[in-house]
Amino acid sequence: MARMKFLCDAERCIECNGCVTACKQEHEIPWGVNRRRVVTLNDGIVGAEKSISVACMHCSDAPCMAVCPVDCFYKTTEGIVLHDKDLCIGCGYCFYACPFGAPQFPQDGAFGMRGKMDKCTFCAGGPEADNSPAEFKKYGRNRLAEGKLPACAEMCSTKALLGGDADVVADIYRTRVTTRGGKGAEVWGWTTAYGKPEQKPGAKQ
């Protein structure tokens, strides 16, 4: 059984925001809602700038599921965290619990009240009939039911963002870092992902 995961390679991400655009276009996401976004650290510091694409990470022990007062979250057999929008009350507890800021709240109603929570579905739709208009309207396109992977990962031009079965994604990343060369912390470590501590201010040009 596949266990779906995302992985973003900070060494490859060029902050093009192609994943963000692909997601918004694929699911016709409303203005003000970003299911995926690109975060850049050390912005403008030459040699230390790193970008990473962030969305719902479909946690194995998801805190959003734990705090939801109406229990509208569920996890599919592929490990994808989804929710029922008919049940969601838009309280925002999941937003406070999520370490990635994944839950989004579209403006709803005449006075811009906070609507029901919206988040990355790993392009797996929701609890409506697969590829039905109701599913598309509430949760976006169900690419998984079409045998496809999330649009963001498949659109990534540098293949920084990988998505799919965790075992296969891990194999791809392993091949990549062994081909890239080096060993230990310089390949996997914090400094590779977030820049070296000694390259802080002063290097900015």
Binding site: A2, T77, P127, A145, G163, G164, V168, I172, R176
Partner: protein, 74 residues
């Protein structure tokens, strides 16, 4: 006599107190998903319940993200 009235009034008050009691939560199953059931991704028109075919398609797509093997094999 006064005590009799007091006891009666207290009994009536206690009896009437239960009349307005309504359950505030109709269905509550702690920690369980309360929404609609979802279907499996292979149960739709595209794969018609063939889980193995779906897993094969997903694995092929996932492997397509590895440009090292993809470019060498072609």
């Amino acid at each position: 006599m006064k005590l009799h009235w007091l006891v009666t009034a207290a009994a009536l008050a206690a009896f009437a107190a239960g009349c307005g009691e309504r359950p505030t939560v109709t269905v509550y199953k702690k920690g369980e998903y309360q929404g609609k059931p979802d279907t499996q991704p292979w149960s739709g028109d595209r794969f018609k319940g063939d889980q193995l075919a779906w897993e094969k398609a997903i694995k092929a797509r996932t492997n397509n993200q590895n440009e090292y093997t993809r470019l060498i094999s072609k």
